[in-house]
Amino acid sequence: MNPNEEFEHVSIGVPVSSGTFDELMVSQATLDAQVLAEQDEGKSISPTRAAIRRLTRDRRAMISLGIIILIIGVSFLGPLIYTHIGPTITGGPTLQDQLGPQVYHEYTHQELTQLNQPPSAAYPLGTDQLGRDILARLMAGVQVSILVTLVVITFDIVLGLVVGTLAGFFGGWIDTFLARFTDLMFAFPILLFAILAAATLGPAFIDRFGPSGRLLLVSLALGLTIWPQMARYVRGQTLQLKNQQYIEAARCVGGSNRALVVRHIVPNLFNIVLTAATLDVVGIITAEATLSLLGLGVQAPGSSLGLMISDASGQIYIQWTEVLWPTLVLATLVLCFSFVGDGVGDAFNPRTKD
């Protein structure tokens, strides 16, 4: 039996707790019509594939996904090309030095004769208050955002999945632990914890791991605190799956607890984990930018969108475009991820939205 089919049956029983009820019902009606139409053609499709199809038809989510891929692609591949294009400029300490783009398009290079420059041929988006190329720093900043997101989301999914399934399936002390820990985290906002961690352990991490030590610490702090929400979703879903007949059937034919969890529960958690993770991405990007903005994340030679905004805020009377670029990139990233998150939520959990 395809376990995913079971999932669709399960979600019928889930009450619609919030979200736009009418829209869901409408989308559900069209969805059912679609499935029926496809079945008429003689082929039935798995719910997962149906969800992906629904997602690809969500124009807002697809455009956003395209923009995200474009931004990430340019940020990771762009520097390879960018350090080879651009005119040779005169600058450097003696002013007679000829500088090629491989020098001044380096995101850490400070060209002290070129402070707060407006956009030009050499500097497509201008320079900041230390004469660093803004486009190069933007690309480096997006790289940081994405890397932090990857690390934190891995923690989120792994810890959330393990603790959530164990708490839901076995209950007992691990369930109590999860409940208490979640209570604690409700009172202790993630960012507050990260701020505390940066304040106490930051210097040690910088000594040990160099300038990016603070960043590593921030990722760890976010990763270790973000998962309770995910675990709660997973726990709720596991509790419902646990009482399904197919689990009972699997147990009857002699399935061990481990086999039940790994083979029959976890695959059915895919939808809820995917949805929660996509929505968490927005929070992580914002959290990293916030910490860097407050001076607790990425440190000076490194780049981060938050750090760029905080640096450029002081230059607003001199060169106002400086603050515009990182703001625009961050806003675009955050909005696009929100739209994709909404789309994934609608497509994969058409009846449950929360």
Partner: protein, 339 residues
């Protein structure tokens, strides 16, 4: 003077919490009361322990740093003793909790004439004005907007309100603030009337931070109110009310809206946690002399007791607000009792 004031505040806070719990106990039963109380104690111990232990294991010797070139062995020992840093960790934590009960958060490392408590007293008012102003504004405008969106569900009014709410909800305030700054600087350079981009205390400096801080909470409440209202409007009793011939206005405000408010109450807790972080960012970017700016400054100066103090203050505030929310929820929805 300060100790009299702080113990007075402690007594008042204690009485309020106790009164709330007793009230909740009468209304919701002893079990509810005990569970809440245990939860409260657990969370406060958890938060203080995490804050304490991170400070304890933080490398770098604050006393040594503070003495700097005035370092002598006697002075070092004296100061270590003054801060109680020569004791084993469990005794330090015990002392820390004991002093916390008396609202004594210790002395600042940077300026030992100031206790952490006096520093907090200096910076809390601005944060409180900003926070309360923003939240009140957001709720007062957000809830009716959400109701309107729900009444006009699936019309152009609804979809544009939803769009605005989604954008405001997703965009962090540090994306909105620079754009605001750019506009204000431009207005100023054109000789047009503009708002201040930093400072606090006068009306023209307070308008922008409060509105920008409130924007995301506003969006949160619009979305929440809308979905809550939509769900209530589906209910049978709303249909009954309509069938009785009650005016649409009365149906919406007297029958639907009151019930839709219940889920909104539970959202106060998460909204507050969200708000605390928002306050940090808005304060730093607008140069507001509040608790966020002070915490960030204390972190860069490694003034750990101050960081500890603000973290504990903020999380205890959130715990108490959650308690108030729970109690209010119990009153608003009697069904919670049977749970």
């Amino acid at each position: 003077m300060s100790s009299v004031l702080s113990s007075a505040i402690a007594v008042i806070v204690g009485i309020v919490v106790l009164a709330l719990l007793v009230l909740a106990g009468f209304r919701l039963g002893l079990r509810f009361l005990l569970r809440r109380l245990l939860g409260l104690i657990f969370v406060i111990i958890g938060v203080t322990f995490i804050t304490f232990i991170m400070g304890y294991f933080a490398p770098g010797n604050a006393v040594y740093n503070q003495l700097g070139q005035h370092y002598t062995k006697e002075a070092y020992e004296q100061l270590t003793h003054f801060y109680g840093l020569d004791l084993p960790w469990y005794q330090q934590y015990g002392n820390f909790l004991w002093r916390l009960l008396h609202l004594d958060l210790g002395h600042s490392y940077i300026n030992d004439a100031d206790t952490v408590w006096t520093i907090l007293q200096r910076y809390v008012p601005a944060s409180l004005q900003l926070g309360i102003g923003g939240v009140v504004l957001a709720v007062l405008i957000g809830v009716p907007t959400g109701v309107i969106a729900a009444i006009r569900a699936r019309t152009r009014v609804d979809s544009s309100l939803q769009g605005v709410a989604l954008v405001l909800y997703a965009l962090p305030s540090f994306v909105i603030i620079p754009i605001f700054d750019i506009v204000m600087v431009w207005l100023h350079s054109q000789g047009l009337p503009s708002l201040a981009v930093s400072g606090w205390g006068t009306i023209d400096t307070m308008i922008a931070p409060i509105i920008i801080f409130g924007a995301s909470i506003f969006a949160y409440y619009v979305r929440l109110t809308r979905s809550s209202m939509l769900e209530v409007l589906q209910q049978d009793y709303v249909r009954t009310a309509r069938a009785k011939g009650i005016s649409e206005r009365a149906v919406i405000w007297r029958h639907a809206f009151r019930n839709a408010l219940i889920p909104l109450l539970t959202a106060v807790g998460p909204a507050l946690a969200f708000a605390v972080v928002g306050v940090f960012v808005v304060e730093v970017l607008f140069n507001i002399p509040g608790i966020g700016t002070e915490t960030v400054a204390a972190i860069t100066q490694r003034d750990f007791p101050v960081v500890q103090g603000t973290v504990i203050l903020l999380s205890v505030t959130i715990v108490l607000m959650n308690l108030v929310t729970d109690v209010a929820y119990g009153f608003a929805d009697p069904r919670i009792k049977s749970e």
